[in-house]
Amino acid sequence: MADDESQYTIKEGDYVVLKRGDIFKAVQIQPRKKVIFEKQWFFLDNAVGHLYSSTFEIVSGGTLQPQKLRGTESSTDAKEAGTDNRNIVDDGKSQKLTRDDIETLKEKGLKGQEIIQQLIKNSSTFRGKTEYAQDKYIKKKKKKYENTVTILKPSCRILAMMYHGREPGKICHLRYDTLAQMLTLANIHAGSKVLVFETCAGLVLGAVMERMGGYGSVIQMYPGGGPVRAGVESFGFPANFHDMLHEFPICHVNSLLAGTLDTTAKDPTAVTDEKQSSMVAEEQQSQSGLEHQGSPEEWLRETNNSDDIGQDQEQKQKEKRKEAKAEEKKVKLEKKRKKLAAAADLLKGRDADGLVIASRFHPCPVLMGLLKFLSPSRPFVVYSQYKEPLIECYTKLKEHGGAVSLRLTDTWLRHYQVLPNRTHPLLLMSGGGGYLLSGTTVTMDGAKPAGSQRAEEPAAKRPKLTHTEG
């Protein structure tokens, strides 16, 4: 890897991740752009030129100031501590500073650290708390009053944790460790050809792209009107990464498999025009049918146009604009067609090296439809928030053949607090991170698996049970 320093400095236009404690937020560095993070607004302009992983203090006017002393640990001079909590009474009177007092301190421009000092000074019970409880108290107050923000370089780890913490609904509740399993189980690596079908805001797609490092090709199989990949932006990939990214609408999968997909049209003859417009119409339909995917802007504009009435001069201008727009559209369509043709070429050989599915769609038809594009002896992995659809996939694959080493799994994840004499699992843990079905493709042969072959699922003891236990 080129070790030039520039990749470690924050530049204008960079996609970065803001961090405070366990809270993350992905943003782009834009001049004079107000950013709201954790109920505070500020500008990122001053971060430009600083190193990634720097911590800044938010000062008045929403400007960032590099934090001078890294990790200044609480310099509590009070080294006094109690032995247990028998004398701590929760009467709500231990803190002498009122809410208003604290607000005034804040307005005076006191730093978080100073406010905490004041809080400790004015707490009648702090000295009576055990050393551990004092630590905990300071930690809690720090979280509340410190107005610092750390700017990180985005990575799959950070973005996966961010999405899971902030907007799990957007990524089908895919937990970061489950995403980690998917990337490994699908053997995602540089130089391979991978199919991705996801409705996880582009997180899964971005994760796959990161693991491929710009080598090989990723084909995003997308439903509806257009590929959704806002999350990919947040990774801040170098430009060459986007050269490996292709897209193919799943509404053309059947025609591609049947060999009837026409992507060869060179000049816009009437036939292709018709075809394309019907294609567009079809997409728009599915777009309006589904949730808001991509930007149905153009479509909206068109409907707005039809609503307009009269006004001659404007009408003419409008027509001109319309023409220009039509021309623009044609160019766009041509570009789109070329892209479609390129993706179709990649798929035609049915020799992809990996398949990753993570969507809110029923995984069964998606899996059965896309598995056809894989070479034999290649891994695939399907994520679902629910277990039952994956049971169906498993059953279908068993009937259909063409896959071995099928496994339905989920992962259990527990975090720990590790402190001298206070090590224990965290009180809260995630209840579930979704389910995975993984397997490996093999060549299909006409014959059904012979009875002699061991079945992966022991034959149901149905007859026996019903007779003996009935």
């Binding site: 970061y176 980690a180 490994t184 490092g213 277990k387 169906e392």
Partner: protein, 303 residues
């Protein structure tokens, strides 16, 4: 064949994975003229393997058949020869993501052990990354180096036979990530810090015992590591089963409306085939690995 690049056909000198059935696989060094015994009979390499497509079905001498698969680090993990306790795919996947490994990463690892994690790392950092792996057991270091060569990933890895706690990783200021799986990781934290780039990097320590974690975390804090976080990941397997659920017979219900002209009701006392429902569901295995090790991650800040 290579562990970092797929090929379509089996060639002389490849390592192929024979898939015998669920959770039953064996690696095979493909050699012209060689034979491999399986419980379904003999596989003749020259005719049954060489020139065949990976993923195809091979009929063994006794008439049973197996599938021949292209090796991947995950398949290797389930069938590699154990010379030590190894890391399994669930932990490897978590380590790979939390260490932020990707093509081009420079990684230090100790101990190498049987090379289970090493293969996973190599797959992810190829084609431009490098793995510096340190193993204090000479035979193990030699054996694993040989395997890397056979798996055609030798150019991506340097195996050093030394004690990481005494001699470090043999490199300084180059690593993006360091992984420790040794009995006393706290003794190697200083070396790990030295191996990491001045711009910073990630560290992971794998320990089965909480006391090891405790000591390691203290030393990590002392060395200025940040974002120290310990976690545990377990794989839960769900076996798909078709299960019959018999329905109980409460006898005739007088309060219910008598069915119009069913004619002959089966005798309530001895229905020959009591009704039951069959359904697809999953069951957990009777036993599962309930603990592998604690994974402690940390970030080394820029120094």
């Amino acid at each position: 064949m290579s562990f970092v690049e797929y090929s379509d056909f089996i060639q002389d000198g490849d390592v192929a994975i024979i898939y015998l059935g669920h959770d039953s696989m064996m690696p095979v060094k493909v050699q012209q003229g060689a034979q491999t015994q399986t419980r379904y009979g003999v596989i003749r390499h020259s005719t049954d393997l060489i020139g065949q497509r990976y993923g195809s079905k091979v009929t063994c001498s006794k008439g049973g058949w197996v599938h021949v698969l292209h090796p991947t680090p995950e398949l290797w993990t389930v069938c590699l020869p154990h010379r030590t306790q190894i890391l399994y795919t669930t932990d490897i996947a978590t380590i790979t993501m939390m260490l932020e490994l990707k093509p081009g990463s420079i990684v230090c690892e100790s101990g190498t052990g049987s090379g289970s994690l090493s293969h996973g790392i190599l797959r992810t950092i190829a084609p431009t990354g490098h793995l510096h792996t340190v193993e204090f057991h000479q035979q193990r270091a030699e054996k694993v180096a040989e395997e890397f060569k056979e798996h055609r990933v030798g150019h991506l890895v340097t195996v050093r036979n030394q004690d990481v706690c005494k001699d470090g990783f043999g490199v300084t200021g180059v690593a993006d990530a360091v992984f420790l799986d040794i009995p006393s990781p706290w003794e190697a934290v200083g070396h790990a810090k030295a191996a990491l780039k001045t711009q910073g990097g990630r560290l992971c320590s794998f320990s089965p015992c909480i006391e090891q974690v405790q000591r390691t975390c203290e030393v990590l804090t002392d060395h200025g590591f940040e974002e120290i976080s310990t976690m545990e990941v377990l794989l839960r397997v769900h076996d798909v089963r078709t299960v019959p659920l018999p329905l109980p017979d409460f006898g005739p219900d007088p309060s219910a409306q008598t069915q119009p002209e069913t004619g002959e009701e089966p005798h309530p006392m001895c229905s020959p085939n009591p009704p039951s429902i069959t359904m697809k569901t999953t069951t957990p295995p009777r036993e599962m690995p309930g603990h592998t090790g604690y994974l402690t991650f940390a970030t080394k800040p820029r120094t």
